[in-house]
Subunit: 472 residues, 2 copies
């Protein structure tokens, strides 16, 4: 593909400039006012051009349960989630498409899918997600979610004797599975990346973490995990390691400049220093952290310590959307209440940089992605500034980040290929997707999770909550 964007508004210093952008194949070859028009010409008048954002943490198949789970904390929410987890391969396909579509239409060009694997169909699950993302054309960082301990082990024992079932798959078999996935699917030049992604300290052994480190080093893979999302996990780390989870992961050699860690809500100042020292990235999932009552991640402290921060929607069962602009807005504003000194508050321009460059950095691709720079990949988004939700005209980036933009994404290119035009995803049949999602679901209310019922009393006791009252 060779094309020229004409008269696009782009941010420069503290203002804006109107420029042309030339693209040859998959790369930006020139950015300047009044360039010669080469290839297809795209009129960008009254449109804002920004580098694509990264939806840096999600779980696509959770979309089957969005809106379904009542407000409860992570540990109980997970119990319900897994009681109703989708088990058909076709479901994986449809919600990977859905996740890609919502991400694209809210400014994202890359998605990190911490993909829940269907037991017994693990490779097929990954193959299906790869197929869906390739069809849409979004850049896909697929992080098959692995663990080697069963779900109940994720709740602190609180000094009581707890027995947990063995996990369905051994550590060795799990690592072999990831190696297989890497061999089959890891293909950065085609926009598909496999990550090692042990879910987190709550359900993974040291052997799983170190096995992942080895795979990561052998194949140059990024690493992706949840980290200290809840207070319960802080307690659990103390029970398991006698030290903080961050300290333990550092000792295991898991933290690095290609490690991204979702949530990071409950870290101490010492933990933050370790993240800075190891150049790890924090993926901020503000909506999920609120929805599950996990807490407010100390994002301003991370930024002051020099820790890279990006944004994620998290899975649609804990948000319950894949609107990246919403996650960026709330993830930026939320911290104003944590620090009285507004000099530390995140500005809309900083939010844009976190969502684009910060996202790329956390995936070890900042030399290729994350900014409008000659030589970088052509992954960018054109916003229609004549949309009612961005009017009256004031500061375009202020409107985009602080407002509630509705259908403002006009066009999206990934790897130089246009996959959204006139506000519509053009690479797949979205109306058919809509029909499939409708037909394969039904309006359900008041479903009862057996696992949640089983673990609730223990959870309340460990967390120091009074006995359950007439809650319904």
């Amino acid at each position: 593909m060779t094309f020229t964007l004409q008269k696009a508004l782009v941010p420069v210093d503290r203002g804006y400039s109107t420029v042309d952008v030339q693209v040859v194949d998959d790369r930006i070859t020139a950015i300047a006012p009044n360039l010669e028009a080469i290839g297809t010409v795209v009129d960008c008048q009254n449109k804002l051009l920004l580098p694509g954002f990264v939806n840096a943490h999600t779980h696509s198949s959770e979309m089957w349960q969005r809106g379904a789970i009542r407000p409860v904390p992570l540990e109980l929410w997970l119990a319900e989630l897994y009681d109703f987890v989708p088990l058909e391969i076709e479901q994986i396909y449809l919600t990977a498409l859905g996740t890609a579509v919502e991400t694209l239409l809210s400014g994202g060009t890359s998605v990190v899918d911490h993909l829940v694997l269907i037991p017994g169909k693990e490779i097929e699950t990954i193959a299906t997600a790869v197929r869906a993302y390739k069809e849409v054309g979004i850049r896909a960082f697929i992080a098959p979610l692995i663990q080697d301990e069963s779900l109940t082990a994720g709740v602190p024992s609180g000094g009581t004797e707890q027995e947990h079932d063995a996990y369905i798959r051994s550590t060795g078999a799990t690592l072999a599975l990831i190696q297989d996935a890497v061999n089959k699917f890891h293909n950065p030049s085609e926009g598909v990346y496999i990550l090692v992604a042990p879910t987190g300290i709550q359900l993974c052994s040291d052997a799983l973490f170190t096995g992942c480190v080895e795979l990561s080093e052998r194949y140059n893979l990024c690493r992706h995990s949840h980290l200290l999302e809840t207070k319960a996990q802080v307690l659990l780390a103390q029970e398991k390691y006698g030290c903080s989870a961050v300290e333990h992961l550092k000792r295991l050699g898991y933290l690095s400049e290609r490690t991204s860690l979702a949530h990071c809500v409950h870290l101490t100042d010492e933990d933050i220093a370790i993240l800075a020292e190891t150049q790890s990235t924090v993926v901020h999932n503000p909506l999920s952290n609120l929805r599950l009552g996990s807490g407010i991640a100390p994002i301003l402290k991370y930024r002051q310590a020099g820790v890279n921060v990006s944004f994620g929607c998290d899975g649609s069962a804990s948000n319950d959307s894949q609107d990246l602009l919403e996650a960026i807005k709330i993830g930026s504003l939320l911290h104003n209440v944590t620090d009285l000194d507004y000099q530390h508050w995140i500005t809309p321009r900083q939010s844009v940089e976190m969502a684009s460059f910060g996202g790329a950095k956390g995936l070890n691709v900042a030399d290729e992605l994350g900014s409008l720079t000659v030589g970088k990949k052509a992954d960018f988004v054109l916003y229609d500034l004549t949309n009612l939700s961005l009017l009256p005209r004031t500061d375009p980036i202020g409107l985009l980040i602080l407002g509630r933009p509705t259908q403002v994404v006009d066009s999206v290119w990934v790897n130089g290929k246009k996959i959204v035009g006139n506000g519509q995803v053009t690479s797949i049949d979205v109306d058919n997707l809509r029909k499939e999602l409708f037909d394969r679901s039904q309006w359900v209310t008041n479903r009862q999770s057996q696992t949640l019922d089983e673990i609730e009393a223990h959870y309340r006791s460990v967390m120091g909550l009074s006995e359950k009252s007439g809650y319904s």
Copy 2:
């Protein structure tokens, strides 16, 4: 108008039911499955019907500055806001239309416009907002924003000598103005209500509050004010009254079952008890409270104390949108991080009730509005459950409140009149509005507020912030 909605999904107990709804003139006359079709028939298959929400606090003309003001606390933000306040009557008209459109398209059927008056054109400002809202057909609660002290008086002195200019209009003249507005515009049967609306303790004398109480009693008007939005206002109340602002307002007789109070971020348990006792309503503006770093209002405490709570978007310069569904989502989730016991968390159904019935109650019209009830006014909203952002199908209200619905409002009726159909506002020319907003504005960045610069050093000192560093 006589019409029948057929096969609408409505919430009942903890599930849903499919019903028909008959409307004659402006009122609901029957709700039941399989009613006789009278008048126009509206097919509501796969659509959710809910009572209209109330956008219970906003300032319409702030829309001219949305996206424009950098992240700073209220007191500095106000300084910049007023330096660039719109001064043309036509501007009032256009952003009242814009506020109405965004409110309608996010589930609102009523708006409380705490309307900033153009100096010297006060009655004309009110007349213009009335005209705009009547043209759109939204139910309009117009609360002309009044004060009798000048802006700098809103920042605590911190023990220093501060001189403030006299306000541009006397207390008596201000009260006469409101009386005039009531005579000219207060017309509940036509969907236009005038409220007495002293901005808050920070800029109003006792005489203004008591004058408003008298007007409220004489004409049966609701009362609407800001209350304890920031820490600075807590300090100011102590300086002014030597007691809490809530105690003082109670003594003045301002608090009542028809008083609604925006923000209420910094109240003590004693203050909360006073709100409960006086049956005052709290209007929760979560996005503005985050954007300005004001804090997290203790909404769960209000609910536990029996205080009525509704939702507002607040003005578009502190949000920066009028998307009521966004305000409801964030205003519901935000509090999960303030109470470890999830039994107290707000459920999506409770959110709907707060936004509809709670909104009506705060405006003293709960006998007429706020629920789908035979005999009540036909103010309701039909949501398209086949929209991609509400799929796959799970719990309709969970999807609507916890998700990020995009263009899901199919139709809206106010006072029995249909003003939105097929997702489009039909009562005015929205495309023309869009063009007008575009033409009358320009992309501006880095504007400098002189007043902000003047008061910043004093503000930082009073709030215990260090001297300004290299902030830019």
